[in-house]
């Protein structure tokens, strides 16, 4: 082969590799997972701005949930408040509370055009929320296709975040269980590695699994270790063998979880 021919072969191969990398479903899962993260940031930022802006008109309104706040802005009218609609969003009790405050409000009397501008802001926040919900479904679908075992063991949301965090399923499947356990808690991990007096993190992204976040603090570390072990096996199956072993893994995790909880209950009785 002449050097030029060789060059052509190499170039073609490189192009094919790039194309193959882009082809994989990982990339789509990455795209949507990061978009959801960005949407969360954006909704938060704009939600705070809305509270400041609408606060000119009705500073007494305090609603924890940013989506509900935006929805309430759309239906609320200080002059003729529609009790039924407001109660539908915030619940009867909170709606009554707001109605009582509306009479003696310190807020300014804004004209309809000014309120309209504010409502359009609320509307666009609600729109971003809808987009986020839609993407969450899409993320679950993609995770189910790309890593069915992981999706069943860890839940599609956690599975997608783990893959997005390291960049690809193939890379994730090569990590040890102890690393998967603390993925996403790098800051706390490096603090520990610099100063051994600070305890290492017990869980990173997988904390969002209800069996960990819903358990008492004392057992979360143990449950996280058990779950990470099963996720590691699931990731390997998804990346290499493509066999469905999720039933076995879930059963194993369930068993270990019950053991941990039983041991915890016994410890508690002993202490008392």
């Amino acid at each position: 082969m002449s050097p030029m021919e060789k060059r052509d072969v190499f170039m073609r191969r490189a192009r094919e590799q790039v194309k193959a990398a882009l082809m994989s479903r990982d990339m789509l899962l990455l795209g949507v997972t990061r978009s959801i993260e960005d949407l969360d940031k954006v909704i938060n930022l704009l939600g705070e701005r809305l509270e400041e802006w609408y606060g000119i008109y009705f500073p007494e309104m305090r609603v924890e949930d940013k989506l509900k706040y935006a929805q309430a802005v759309l239906v609320f009218d200080r002059a003729q408040p529609d009790m039924k609609e407001l109660a539908g969003i915030l619940g009867q009790k909170k709606a009554e509370e707001l109605m009582a405050q509306a009479g003696g409000t310190l807020g300014a009397d804004l004209g309809e055009p000014d309120l309209e501008q504010c409502r359009s802001f609320a509307n666009s926040i609600i729109g971003l929320h809808k987009l986020r919900e839609r993407y969450e479904k899409y993320q679950d679908e993609l995770a189910g296709q790309l890593c069915p075992n992981m999706s069943k063991v860890a839940g599609p949301g956690v599975a997608a975040k783990l893959v997005a965090h390291v960049g690809s399923l193939a890379r994730l499947a090569r990590l040890p269980s102890s690393t998967i356990q603390v993925l996403g808690a790098e800051k706390a991990l490096f603090k520990h590695l610099k100063n051994r007096k600070i305890k290492p993190p017990k869980h990173g992204i997988i904390f969002q699994h209800p069996k960990i976040s819903g358990s008492p603090k004392a057992v979360r570390g143990r449950i996280a270790r058990a779950l990470a072990a099963k996720i590691t096996l699931a990731a390997k199956a998804d990346a290499f063998t493509k066999r469905d072993i999720s039933g076995m893994l879930l059963e194993g995790f369930e068993k270990r979880y019950n053991e941990i909880m039983a041991a915890y209950a016994a410890e508690k009785v002993k202490k008392e």
Copy 2:
């Protein structure tokens, strides 16, 4: 008056003061100006995410303007590209360039459902852009009502940003011209105050005025000083006398601007 009666009087007065503060148009101008700033941030963030996401399908597409990129995502189709629509957004030359690249693209072949998700992202970016445009008009209206002199001398956008930066028109009207000149360049100013070897900033927010940003670097400081002096007088008129003196101020600024430019031209001739 009994202590209780006194208390009631004070409470009533305090409530009235709060209400008066919220009543002023300043607050609305602040709300919309900061919302525009937030929308800029958000559009930028989501625009970058879109480029990464859509890059899976068509990595060769490079468009500087984030709005145009989003619009192009909506109409572009690698299989049957609509040349006319694409040219309408990006111009004939750029559209042809993209068409040529589309044939040998390294991007992955995505199905319609996947592309649809991506397009909905582009769509929401375009929606935020429209909201931003609408708010800019509203901001100009409010600035025209609240500070008509400043709006005419500095332009409504710069006037609104100056008021939003210090929090109220009354506060702005009490600042000296030298402060108004560098409002928004606090970081550079404090660097200079810490280390006198670093030169002080010549302009802050008012740099956005076309007579400053459009002038040669050597004269921008002088023009900024002249403009800041006129804005200071305009702010005082808006806040206190409420008289329209914008004609006189604009004339004075125009005269000073021409003097500066003439002096600059003379200097340049001398050097050569």
